[in-house]
Amino acid sequence: MSLGLEHYLILSAILFSIGLYGALTRRNAVIILMCIELMLNAVNITMVAFSRFIVPVMLTGQVFAIFVIIVAAAEVAVGLAIILAIYRGLETIDATKIDLMKW
């Protein structure tokens, strides 16, 4: 048995679905952010697997994965700062209780 592209794609699909389920069901805002990181990692696995198996010498998928990592780092910094600001104002980070702007 050898490793193919499908192994990596299905693994990353499983990780993405777990992250999706967590992001939809958890109440703690930090956990939601962690699940989004999980989904971004799954996408990165897909990019690198395509890069390895379809265009092995062009490395375009790895370049794309580097940019995804950069944007994810920026997103985590700003997201956690927003969560801290919300916690300072509302004393909670329960996503179902943060409904000031909800109609």
Partner: protein
């Protein structure tokens, strides 16, 4: 053969760690489980012969992002309350499973054009040429720098005490 065994170990540990992130009650343990999942993803990059990305994954995700997340957990003191699910648990489970089924179906039914060329092994120099060389990604790299700077400034402004 060793590659296959490594892949399966990493895959099982990674999926279990991801389930731990979603299902563990204790927020702090969920964060540690996320760190384990990041480490297995770095191992998967090694099996895909992406050595630079594996190192970047460990430095950025395992080193920096997990520290930020654990810091946020410590500062919000929400972990006594755990991470309870909301009312959407069953619809979200159905949506996630349906999404997974659609993805697996489309992955297994697409005729991928697998290339048989062996991959580049030390990828760092090749990646640098790709990013910064002729016809590369010079402008996106510059924009990424600006994005990181503005994200740092925004985080400082948002998190500062009034």
């Amino acid at each position: 053969m060793g590659l296959v065994i490594t892949f399966w170990i990493l895959a099982v540990v990674g999926v279990l760690a991801a389930l731990g992130v979603v299902l563990l009650r204790n927020v702090f343990r969920a964060a540690l489980s996320l760190v384990l999942c990041f480490l297995t993803v770095a191992g998967l990059y090694v099996t895909l012969s992406a050595d630079f990305l594996a190192a970047a994954q460990i430095l950025i995700y395992v080193g920096a992002i997990s520290v930020l997340i654990i810091l946020a957990i410590m500062m919000t003191r929400e972990f006594q309350r755990g991470s309870p699910p909301n009312k959407l648990r069953i619809p979200a489970f159905i949506v996630a499973v349906l999404f997974l089924v659609v993805l697996v179906f489309s992955v297994t039914n697409t005729p991928w054009q697998i290339s048989s060329t062996p991959p580049l092994m030390p990828t760092t120099a090749a990646l640098a040429t790709r990013l910064l060389g002729e016809g590369g990604f010079m402008l996106p790299v510059g924009i990424a720098g600006v994005l990181l700077l503005s994200a740092i400034l925004g985080a400082v402004v948002l998190a500062r005490e009034k």
